[in-house]
Symmetry: D3
Subunit: 192 residues, 6 copies
């Protein structure tokens, strides 16, 4: 039904630096998440994408936990209806938050999710960046400050939302499919 | 009225590689576009941002001209109501296309702009990536192929749109203002 | 954070006919899905709700399989952002379709789901009933007839969509939470 | 122009219980509202529909008057652009409220209607259930409590809105037309 | 509940030319439609408004009947949720079309109204002018030409839609109420 | 690509009163803005249009400056994506406000424009009239009164917004193009 306009390259054909990172991820995760191969057909874009990704998601310091960061990604990706990112980052969210149900809750309606008021404020802001960034003004910073987020943390929230808006559009447009492994990951607490 | 949550760093405080690029741009343009300083408060993000930018906008080869690329940026930024990017990239669009009126036309309503049918198809696709990427399917590729765009060119269109969606959200959220120089640039054909 | 305005009644306080059905479901599923208790605080509405539900979902005959029916419910509930129904009916969808990944796909973006072209046409129609029923006209019947759906089958699609629009609004408004059991159900193929 | 996909059954062909109700309505109203025949082609659905309808609309007790209930139906049906329900329930609204102009006002723009502040709050909540049920939270209950509505009354408002959302979709999809009698009913005060 | 910011002037205080027209309308209709007094507090605007109105609605020649014109006004006013104009012009529509039910049908959902395919095409175009004028292009003219509308007739359709968009905004903003007489006018065929 | 359905009449063929005004404008501006010719093919509509225009835009008295009035027109026209009016009235806005950058700012995102808090409140109200006039109520008047606008000034804001909504629809539908002169006008402060 759908033509595959953008076939994934084979691992062996990738530049060395990309191949190294892919193998590292494979080692750690047990499989290669499709985004690593799908974007690798464009090495320069791949390098910029993952440099940006790492700067935002692997950042040390600041008030955002790794779980917070993945929660923003999951909510953003759901708002953008991106199958790849909801499934892949929802899996990571479950693992970091150690909550097997939280990703589905955040993806369907974060207002009903079992998250903290602080996380709720974080997602309200992220959704405004995602859907109506041009309307953001000073008044949007107050509720975040009240929950202990600094202006630097708020930049993190906005940047993660903006970056995954890019990721969502690339994945949807190019028909990127989540690896089957992601669907179940983090759902069975004991197994991890 | 608006607090400046994210003051721009001074040139002298920037890492050497960033400073070098900023000086190069200043040399070429006669001033430093604010985005180069505004994002530099986060060097890692700055480097990824401009690596991505260059991969997409300075790319050699493919069917998209530099004017086409800036036209996509201008239309995307207008759809996202991003003041910085409409004004700054609209200026560059005028220069590349050598059309003093085209940026305002594309920003207000690209359907009424004095552009080619090929560019119209390109912008129709970009707007779908911008606003409804989750609905893109095979049928959207046909009209672009008919105008001579290859699947790789279509990736370029989508990636530029997605990347500037990120840029737009960062600029709007952080209240980035266009340099005054951009407003007039490219409007007086002979003077350049 | 959220007040529970509508506490669920206890099983022992329910009318006999409702109690009997609840026990029957508990026997079959191993737990009582919250909707059976949440709505039971209004016995007359409960009886009408489940009579309607059964007429649509347990119907014999027609072209719609049980999997088709649950797929419509999942897509409708996702469009209405109803946490309870996406999680509960997504679980049943996985079981009927014997596809552990299909519910997440349909909930996030059914256009990217691994479903048949016939099911895709079915969901396109359901989404129009869900979101723009006032615009449905003769032209919407053609694609469904082309996939072998009769006018009676089309009534089934519309009625399921309309009924779960009611269910979605009741669940969201009253803050109904899915039972934890649903989240994992049907995800591990062999175990069932 | 429009095919009649779902012809109404004849009275004589209906099951006894349905026929009895239809005759009772005809006796009272002087004609058979089309919804009674249109849905009767599916007896099980008909029975559930009217059981639900009666539980919500003929309910004894609570703060909602019959006029309030019909006002919610009219506003909901207008928001869903359902011709049958606006015309039929608008007629009943006029009669219960003894206000020949109120139905047109509520249908076109309830914010401009000659209704009480209490009814205005009721309709504001109903419209949120109708259009954005997933966003309802505790803060929505306050204004209703301030007007004397209990949580049970609020359930009534939500349930009526949700049920007629179902009814609206069925009527629009199946092209149900209001009986000519409804258009004038309740417009000439003295004649009733 | 609502402050009357813009009280209507008294007839005796109006300029002679306006008073003359008001008396003429009163003579013909039996009452003074509120729009004639409400706008008269600004004589210069009043004169321009009615000159424009007359040029479009009392025009001689062209394919649009008076009924067609009022049908466009009713559909436009319903799309803009303008109480005054739906009720007032719906009344005139009933009279010109000699169809007591047509105004309610057009106001609730013109797609279900008992109108000709030619009128349906006319309203489809009017709704695009009303809601998305910036997207109109050559392709929108074809269906109208096919029904015998000339480019001049199409200008009439667009201009009536645009003019009543102005009228709708003024009436809604200033809280203009329809005269009670309009609600019943044209509903009882024989009495006229 | 686009058929010119509505060619502009020649100056010599216009009625005397229209010709006189056109010559007067040409004298003053150095060229004839296209709207003067484009609408002149319908003399009666032309006369009403400019009478209305003059009553609103050339009005003496009240709190709105000429710059305020053109700012409302620019914001409204941008919201309606009308190329002609954004470019033409943006030019006049630059001249009256003596700010070469303000028109682009207001057109792209007035929330980021270098305007006064009083003008921001004025545009917030204008945008509500433009996009959701049916929701305006008493609460919308408070912020404007706080900035010193009287009810008469508020009428001016609403009327200008409503009138240019008409103008925008006519220009977009009929494919009216701005004169090239407008694009540069008011951008070079000293030259004027």
């Amino acid at each position: 039904m759908t033509t595959n306009h953008y076939p994934m390259p084979e691992l062996k054909d990738l530049p060395e630096d990309i191949k190294a990172r892919v193998l590292e991820v494979q080692e750690k995760a047990g499989f290669v998440p499709n985004v690593f191969l799908a974007l690798a057909r464009r090495p320069a874009e791949w390098r910029a994408f993952f440099a940006y990704h790492d700067a935002l998601m692997l950042k040390q310091g600041g008030a955002l936990t790794k779980g917070d960061r993945e929660m923003i990604v999951t909510a953003t990706s759901a708002a953008n209806q991106c199958l790849y990112c909801v499934v892949a980052h929802g899996a990571i969210l479950r693992i970091y938050e150690k909550k097997p149900m939280v990703a589905d809750q955040v993806a369907v309606n974060y207002r009903k999710a079992d998250i903290s008021p602080r996380q709720r404020a974080m997602l309200d802001f992220a959704m405004k960046v995602c859907l109506r960034a041009h309307e953001i003004d000073d008044a949007d910073f107050g509720p975040l400050h009240a929950h202990g987020f600094s202006d630097e943390d708020i930049w993190d929230i906005a940047a993660i939302t903006a970056f995954f808006g890019l990721s969502n559009r690339m994945a949807s447009f190019s028909n990127m499919q989540p690896n089957p492994e992601f669907y179940l990951m983090g759902r069975i607490p004991r197994e991890k």
